[in-house]
Symmetry: C2
């Protein structure tokens, strides 16, 4: 497994442009930190004024170096950068890390300088990291150009829009001392290499088992989602993405020039791609750490074990709020637990092994064993005091506690079920918890963080299964009939009006109500003959009328030929009053839809992620509550099902307020068919099915609109 | 300031019943921990088999002790407790701490034993802590009966439904080492002394500046709310209350036998009483700690200062989500900051002092000064690296960083504005952060926790101002007219039907639509004479018909005398078909309400908190989304305004979807008047105004129902 960015992260030879003998300069500190990290490649300082720096032979220019160079670490000021890249290109350097600020993040002049640098780099095929990055750390060759950090090494890659957020995660790993990083990188301005390329490289990196990302916005979100979909099948991506609030979007823009976009879209698209999104920055490290240790979590059923009830109550609240399930242990398991701790306060799940007054740490092992043997349970959460018994009760219980710690690690491996420990002693770093961690079991100080680790494991492994289960979604082929419908409108440079839009939907197997277009009032008889007596919805068809109701262009519950005739004249009169020169193509007549729950479906182009599809509850739910879910196109069947089950107010689909329970399968099929239609006709840039009335029998698309790309 | 529970928390003499010379026994460990804590009172061991324990003279029985005893620490088993309490009573002991488990939490036999113990205690006036508590710690006299803890001392009282949650908070204080506890208590079964009595005692305690509470449910929530309302005016109560989820409620019940009740009610009532509710257990300690240090926060306008943008973005998201405001600094402040750091990346708020590559910790002081001088700013949040400069960049910056730390403490005092520091070095406990903390400025490791501290400060001080601003809400006096209306129904043993309910509302100054009751169809002419031509709503009035629409008992948009007559006959016919023996009192005729936004108002009795009032958005918002807010009765004007502004979907009140913006003042007056009505008529146990149509002109109460107390 090699990747084209490997020479950048694992350079055999590194030139330090602007190397220095002045200890306050970046060109000195970088070399010192490479030496401190035992960099296994060759350091080649470049400085016309020096002959040797920190024991390394210094060359006046790159051209003078008598060997090939993988990476240039550019420590010189912004204005020198285009020239330096030119020299790198001439030398055949594969990548350059640009530390200087003062580019697009600073000013318009800086933006032009950045453009110039990129143009030169592209000409030579030199790939650029930054500018405005604080450098790279990668563990394999000990390539630490960041300076100042004693970087803990381990299986986590760290990819950040912010050097400070990166540093914060590194500090956390340093504090706990249990794990560390294969690579860390603050991407800077992403003038050349974008997030998705780094991600792809870390995805292929055998030293990386999880990727932490802090993202303020994507320059190419569609490419990112595509790569993430691949990488997530192999290792988890744990991400904090900015942009949940208008204020956050502004701050991201101001900081890194990033466009954070609509968070609801980001959430949908990244979830689809298997990314584990967290909304608290302090969850990044614990979740990634736990995911490198856990075996795959097969479901959402968690058992809680404690000695004392308060931590159980808090855990249970947090588990329920994250959609994890507390299912009863089997009678056999309960019997086993009862035999171990006859006085236990609770044994069905949660298990409260307390009930006496004396500590009984030795029972944790056998109870955990019983719980993990239970087929109803996918993961085990220990909360409260475990890990702190010896600290509290003295050395007499230390051996027993330490033994359980070792056993838990073995159990996690043999049962293939995650074990998460929350211990109030976690900050004290007790001997027991060190043993536990060496045995491979993660431990956190706070209950809510521990629960978040399990919830993210369940989310991630469900997404991974979803991504591995399906082949790539079928690229829909268009039918001649569909093409004809679209082509006519493309030629006419006209958006699809409701009748054509519904015809096109029909061509993709989507259920539509029977429809007829009335050209004149006298058509009424013919229509009643074809569609029956109604009641009908009668709607204006006119390219000049976008908001039909507002224009008086809709009449509902019209029954019989006479009423139809009258409705035609009435609508015509109202519309022409509203807009005297409206070009009226006719009136669309359809049977009234059965009652049900209003939903909406839309397809549109997103600036970050390309074409996306939206599904939501209609009416007040979309307009005020915004209960909508997005995905990137194309959808898989599993995506379509998840979109439906992700709506916040599920009750509306399940028959709230006397409405019928909707047919989710038919709605999922509808979403898939719309996805196929949109993929087959890139000329259509916007689809709006609003409202769609869903009920137990399926759905009725009450209105449909499709917009063609402007030429 | 003394409180009747003071002898329990600060006993001058303590008898240890079941004292022991066996180091594994509770009766030994308790004495040892009292000695270790330098208990300033007198320890009196009681044990017929010993003459001396740990150097203290041991007495065979309480009766043998030749002096008065404040507190008995009862270490003996559950079955001995009634007898022990009898002896305590005879001796005139003021309080007893019952450590044993095996009472109501364990079994029915235990419950009876507990009842017996309480009955004896009540007879003698002995107050009981527990049973099933792990003891008391109070700092003033060094009264530590918990055993095993080296308890950090400080200004926080800790009151918990769980010994383990208590211990967890204590561990956190031990880890940080900055503050500690005046008192800690796990309440156990609350057989006698309830939460609100402890709270009142801590409220009066001069050593306590903040109270942390972990609550699984109240035995007397109304009393708690009443005491909390008083205590919150003096010091903050920071609480985690269980019961947000059905699973959490079950766990709380199973653990402590607590009934957690409806969390929406709990949240509303406790918020009204000034309690600071957190929903993550890991916020308890940081928030309480910060609140003991902060000066009052005057508003919600926060400035953020950092050197680097990522932490700013994360802060801003969290601030916005917690309703804190980032307002622009004045031009003068910006100019001052610009003069200090001309290259700063951002100076308007957030302030990103970064922009160069070198650290500049010395500027934090002068920039903070400029920000705190700004009249637009209520608090300052420092995020990112501050506190870790010396650690990262070496001793050369230590002096400057330490100096700023001291200055920040002075600034917080002189400006009277909270300063919160988030530092990624917080876990490392750097010298700078120790100085900062000694200077009185709180520091947290995680951005989201730091933001929570500020948000809770803003919430708390707003609530405190609200509680201090108003005199006690006026107790409404009932009018003769109102009494007559209610008395008639009380005598008739009948709930108030719509016409009487509306008459009663009117008697409290509540706007009602004109109404007439039609007794027969021929009344139509008379009614049109009185009310005009309509259109009217016509509704059945019958004690036998609760669901009027379902019974065919409602006709809308009825215009003119003839239609009114027809409607009367029609409704009569339908209702009698629906329920042939219905006793029909007539038909209520009112003008149709103007259109607007549906809201609902209800009053009902709550098992935990007594009578509560609900306000919410109507229709799908109450039925599916549950966008409702509760308060305990009686309301103050500020309570009423807050109820309205706390609804989640404010847009619905502000003219979403073409609806008119509602008149909030009139709605607040309506809530107040309903509160007065309910307070004046305790016979009315339930009021249901649903729907109320609110619009720019006020409101129209479309339906009203009142239920009288069953005798």
């Amino acid at each position: 497994m090699s990747h084209y960015l490997d020479p950048i992260f694992h350079p055999r030879t590194m030139a330090v442009i602007g190397a220095s003998n002045d200890p306050t300069k970046r060109g000195y500190r970088a070399i010192r930190s490479l030496v401190a990290a035992n960099y296994a490649g060759e350091i080649i300082p470049i400085n016309p004024k020096e002959s040797e720096i920190l024991g390394f032979t210094c060359y006046p220019t790159l051209a003078d170096v008598p060997k090939a160079i993988d990476l240039a670490l550019v420590c010189t000021a912004a204005r020198t950068v285009p020239d330096v890249i030119e020299k790198c290109g001439e030398k055949g350097v594969k990548g350059a890390v640009l530390l200087a600020g003062g580019f697009s993040e600073a000013s318009e002049a800086g933006r032009l300088l950045e453009e110039e640098a990129v143009a030169i780099a592209r000409r030579y095929g030199v790939r650029l990291v930054g500018p405005n990055t604080n450098g790279i750390f990668s563990a394999r060759l000990g390539c630490n150009t960041i300076g100042g950090y004693d970087m803990p090494r381990g299986p986590i890659a760290l990819l950040s829009n912010s050097a400070n957020v990166m540093g914060s995660v590194v500090n956390e790993a340093q504090f706990y001392g249990h794990t560390g990083f294969s690579t860390t990188l603050s991407v800077g301005n992403q003038a050349d290499i974008l997030f998705h390329e780094y991600l792809e490289c870390f995805g292929a990196d055998p030293d990386t088992q999880a990727i932490i990302s802090y993202v303020e916005g994507f320059k190419n979100g569609a490419a990112y989602a595509k790569v993430a979909r691949q990488v997530s099948q192999v290792k988890p991506i744990v991400m904090y993405a900015a942009g949940r609030t208008a204020e956050g979007k502004r701050a991201a823009k101001s900081h890194s020039g990033s466009l954070a976009g609509d968070y609801v879209v980001t959430r949908g698209v990244l979830h689809q791609a298997g990314v584990v999104l967290v909304t608290q920055s302090d969850h990044l490290y614990p979740v990634a750490d736990a995911l490198t240790l856990f075996p795959p979590m097969r479901g959402r059923r968690v058992a809680v074990l404690s000695e004392g009830g308060g931590p159980i109550t808090i855990s249970v609240e947090a588990l329920a709020e994250r959609g994890l399930q507390l299912v009863q242990l089997t009678p056999e398991t309960q019997a086993r637990i009862h035999a171990i701790v006859p006085n236990a306060s609770a044994i069905s799940n949660p298990v409260d092994a307390g009930g006496g007054t004396e500590p009984r740490v030795e029972y944790y092992g056998s109870i955990s064993q019983a719980i993990l043997d239970d087929p109803n349970i996918d993961a085990l959460l220990l909360v409260g005091f475990f890990g702190g018994y010896a600290q509290r009760y003295g050395e007499s219980v230390a051996a027993a506690e330490n033994k359980v710690c070792t056993e838990l690690g073995e159990m996690m491996r043999t049962h293939g079920k995650p074990i998460m420990v929350q211990s109030r002693a976690a900050h004290s770093r007790t001997e027991a918890l060190d043993i536990l961690r060496k045995a491979g079991v993660p431990c956190q100080r706070h209950i809510e963080v521990a629960v978040q680790c399990l919830a993210c494991a369940a989310d991630y492994h469900a997404a991974k299964r979803r991504l591995l289960d399906v082949a790539a979604p079928a690229t829909a082929s268009t039918s001649p009939r569909a093409s004809r419908i679209v082509d006519v409108e493309v030629r006419a440079k006209c958006d699809l009006l409701e009748p054509e839009a519904k015809d096109l939907l029909k061509a993709y197997g989507i259920a539509t109500l029977p429809q007829r277009v009335m050209q004149r009032a006298d058509d009424a008889g013919r229509i009643v003959e074809a569609l029956g007596d109604g009641p009908f919805a009668v709607k204006i068809v006119s390219k000049d009328i976008l908001h039909k109701s507002e224009a008086g262009g809709v009449r509902l519950d019209v029954a019989g030929a006479d009423a139809l005739k009258a409705a035609f004249d009435d609508i015509r009169c109202r519309v022409l009053t509203y807009k005297p020169d409206a070009d009226i193509s006719g009136m669309l007549v359809t049977p009234m839809a059965q009652s049900g729950t209003e939903v909406i479906i839309g397809v549109s182009g997103n600036a970050q992620y390309g074409p996306v599809i939206m599904f939501g509850l209609g009416g007040v739910f979309v307009e005020v509550i915004r209960d909508v879910v997005f995905r990137a196109l194309p959808l898989t069947p599993a995506d379509a099902r998840e979109m439906i089950s992700e709506l916040r107010y599920q009750a509306m689909l399940d028959g709230a307020r006397g409405a019928p329970k909707v047919d989710r399968q038919k709605l999922a099929e509808l979403l898939l068919a719309v996805s196929q239609l949109a993929m087959a006709h890139s000329e259509i840039t916007e689809i709006d099915l609003n409202p769609v009335i869903a009920n137990a029998d399926g759905y009725a698309i009450v209105d449909a609109r499709m917009v063609l790309a402007a030429e």
